[in-house]
Every structure is written in C-alpha cells, then in structure tokens.
Amino acid sequence: MMKTVFKRTPTLKDCPTHYCPGCGHGIAHRLIAEVIDELDIRDRTIGIAPVGCAVLAYDYFDIDMVEVAHGRPPAVATGMKRTNPDKIIFSYQGDGDLASIGAAEILHAGHRGEQITVIFINNAVYGMTGGQMAPTTMLGQVTATTPKGRSATEQGYPLQVSELLATLPGTIYIERCALINVAHVRKTKKAIKHAFELQLEGAQGLSLVEVLSPCPTYWRMSPAKAMEWIESNMMKVFPLGRLKG
C-alpha cells in the first residue's frame, strides 16, 4: 500500500519558483506555509513581500499579500495591524530591505512593540540587483561592489540587527536560525511557528526570526559549499540561538 510521506502544503501554490538552484527562499517559504496551515490561519493572515528576490512571494503563497516599497514592510505592517488587530500580519524581508534601507522602520516597529511577525532572511548579499554588498556581508567577502572584499575600515563590520533589536523593550521574541541541514531546518520551522503563535496569542510586542540562508549564485559556489559556508563563516558573526524571549 502506498503511503504519502511528503506533500505540498496547501498555502504553498502548485507552481515552480523563480529562485536560483540552491537558494534558501524556497525552504523558508515552505516553512512559513506549513506553519500557516498547521495553525489554520490562512484566511486571516496577510503577508508583506519586500523588494528583493522575494518580491514575487505572492506568486507562491496562497494568501492575501501586498508588495511594498523597499525597506518599508514594518511600517506597512503597522498600518495593517493597528487597523486590523484580529489579523495575523507578517513581513518577509531580506538583509538589504530590513538591515539597510529599512533600518529605521524595523527599529521603530520594534521600539513601538508592534504585534507583528518578521521573517528576516539574511544571505549576506543583495541578490536581485546582482550581488552587491549588504550590511550583513562578511569581512573579506567579495561582492559586485566590494571587489577586494569587504573591509572593516572602508565598509564597516557586518551589522547584527537581531542583537540590536533584542535590546528594545518592544521586541518579545528574537531567534536566529540557519537553513543548513535537516535538523536546523526543523529548528527554523519551530522558531517561525513560535513567532506566529505569539501574535495569535496577542502577546504585546514584535517577534522576529532571522534565517541565515544560502545564496550560491552570488557567493559563487555550489549549493553544497554554500551550506558549509554559512556554518564556517556566517555563524561565527551571526551566532544561532534565541536572542530574546
């Protein structure tokens, strides 16, 4: 007798994505979709797509979604949640979106303690625009705009946004995870689920899950090597674990 051991979760649409081979967005999307289905909140969830590789996230999530200006998802989420306290609002943002151009918006949404959930995908590079330096780019990392590698004196150190946000009284839960193997993917899902559950319970404050995610294309390495690179490089600057809550 045949037994189904793995299937598409309903909130994820039945279509191929535009993401590069080995990209972490597909995994992160699936984890969020599974959480939405397990919590049975598909019909009350509104998602916010960023500017970046995940700009077309609404093509993959079968929920109400909006695409907004670069870096502004936490402000848009504030407008949504304040006027719709019964809805579950989440933003999905990359490192350029959240840590660079949208630094003010995430800081102040956290500062105000907005009851929203933020999924922060950190892949240490700008993907959609062609592999430029991000605030989270590693020291020495070669990108389209750091041909000699990022230098601390020229471009500053990688920005640890989650640590920064964890200092704010308005944030209630911050955890950093990585999509490097099955065990860590499961941990990531658990964290995402917890972040959504807090909002469902009406917990007073912002919850954020930072996900270290591979970008083999602009790291210029194989998908397998990219997973290793997260562990050997990124996790040293961005240590995993619960930073708050």
């Binding site: 598909r42 019909d43 009350r44 969830t45 509104i46 916010i48 797509a49 700009v55 077309l56 609404y58 999530f61 079968d62 929920i63 109400d64 979604m65 909006v66 695409e67 907004v68 200006a69 502004r72 402000a75 848009v76 989420a77 504030t78 407008g79 949504m80 304040r82 006027t83 719709n84 809805k87 003010a104 918006e105 800081l107 102040h108 500062h111 105000r112």
Partner: protein, 377 residues
Amino acid sequence: MNPVADRTRNRNMTEEWQTSKGAGKRILMCGNEALAESAIIAGCDAYFGYPITPQNEIPAYMSRRMPEEGRVFVQTESELAAINMVFGASATGKRAMTSSSSPGISLMQEGISYLAGAELPAVVVNIMRGGPGLGNIAPSQADYFQATRGGGHGDYRTVVLGPSGVQEMVDCMPLAFDLADQYRMPVMVLADGILGQMMEPIVLEKKQGRELPAKDWALTGAKRRKQNIVRSLWLPEGVLEKLNYKLRDKYKQIEQNEVLCEQYEIDGAEIVVVAYGVAARIVRSAVSRAREEGIKAGWIRPITLWPFPTEQVSKAADEFRIFLVVEMSNGQMVEDVRLAVNGKSPVLFYGRPGGGVPNVDEILDKIKQLTLKPKAQ
C-alpha cells in the same frame, strides 16, 4: 465670502456639501483642527503623521480625538513611515490619511507613487510652507508643481483640492475620501500655513457621501475567496504599459467629471485674475476694489488644482482679455493657465515666493498697471 448677485459659479464645494445649509451649529475653529474633525466625521479609520510646522495642530488634535472614537492614531518615526502606514491600512480597505508640510511631503513622494501604482485610496494633506530645502514656516504655494504633476516617480496623477477658507478645509475632507475610494488613488489637500492656522466660523455636519464601489480588492484574509494581491510591480512585457493606459483612462474620466472652480464677473471683464487657496481670498478683495474704481475685473478660482479647470479658463480666453495669475510662489499654476489660454490672450504673473504674502494694494496696483496700458494686439 460675500454672495454677489451676478456672480456666476460652476460648482462650489461649500454649497455642494452643505446639504442642509445652516442646520449645523456655527463654531470657531482653526483650519488644521477643523480639517481633522472633518476627517473623523468623514469616517477616517486611521491617521499616521510626523510633526512638522505649520500643521502640528492636526496630529495633536488626532492624538486626542481618534482614540476617543476607537480609531487609530500613530505618531510615526518619519514621513516615510507615515505614508507607508497609510499604505498598509488602505490596503486592508480602511480609510487612512496623513498630513505634513512641504519638506515632509517630499519624503512621502515615494509612498504616494506606490499608492498610485497599487491603486490604493489615501488622503494626504499638505499645509504648505516656504521652500526650497528647509525653507521657512511661513505660508506658501510653492508645492503646486509637486502636487499637480504627480510628485513622485512614474506616470501618475493625484487629485489635488485647493481650499481657500476654513469651511472649505472642512468640506474638502469627505470629498477627498470619496474621490480616493471612488477612483482608488491618492488625493491631496493642498492648503497653506495661513489656512491651517487661521480661525473662522464653520459648520461641521455629517453629509451623505457618494455611492462607492465595494472594496473587493482589499486584503482582509483570503476567507472563502481567492487570494487578493496589492502590488505595483509588473515585469512581463506590456503589462505595465497596460496598467498605465488604465490609469490614463481613469485620469481622463476625472478630468471630465471632477473639475471644481468658481468664477466671478468674467463676462465683459477686461482683466481676469486667476488664483487659488488663500491667494484667491486676497484677489477677491483686490478685484472688488478695482471694480469700485471702474475697472472691469473678474476672477477665476480653481478649487481642483488637478484636474485643472482648463475648459473654464479657455472659455474665458475666447474673448481677448488680460489674465493675471497671482500665486505665493515664483509662478507655477501660471503654466496651467497659459496652457489653457493657449495664446488667445496675454497671461501675466504676480507672485510672492519664499513665504511672502501679497496684500490687496499690491494686487490692485498690478491690476491698474495692466489695465491702464494701451492694449496691443
């Protein structure tokens, strides 16, 4: 404004929206607070704003009144955040607004462009001050170009209402929300520091609004329906072009149906003074004085700055007469008057930029100077 027996008018917002004229109680309020209360009466669900002079009475008033009504008030970290919170609330189908003054409105242009692209309704109030740069906090009309040309990037328009008194500040709010909802676009109320600060007796009443289409596009959670998506990115070839044609058609419809303008003594006038907002009030006095001195003068006051009353101005220019445009700027609306007149009559300009406010004598002198000259064809 004194009713004049032979005044011809197209449509007047005050009368149009005051269905039961005189029924409400007359109260004294400053423009900023009156506008804020009117927004509440018009069903504004959420206000988001950042402090800037000379509009601070609006957020201060909203911070008290919105919670009283069980509605949303947020003082934002920036104007960027304010307009994006408006974007978020509006995307869920709520009536949302923000207010600011010139430098803050510049920061909001990104969001206004996204609102236009995503076809979301929103009301943005600009209580103009002097510029460029930080400028000053004196009243000004220097943001006419920015307001009427779209302001942000891309091929779009916003409806722009230019009230000229505190009662009109009140009356334009329900209209702004209705227009925004009807056409799914940002609507701007363009006033200035004088209108925001000065107190006048007004009547606040709940009026019957327009019949509006259901917001079936709103993000409310995909319950027993397909997902709704609010977006402004259209990558496949030709799709964005199609959206832009759709916007063009919408704007054409607005140009045909939503022009508001007031005019006085155009027939037989040798000079027509065109002004909007608070400048139009000064012009009215100057024209009355000119008429007392035997000069055949009239005036046109655009109430909608976009759509501009091109037809009304053009019609007035069918007979040769001098057009004098008076603005608190170095000349911005004068370009729209020139386009409308299209060479049929001379168009001259008198302006006071950088927070300067013309007085009645200055304008009267200009009228005299222009009408005493022999007319050269």
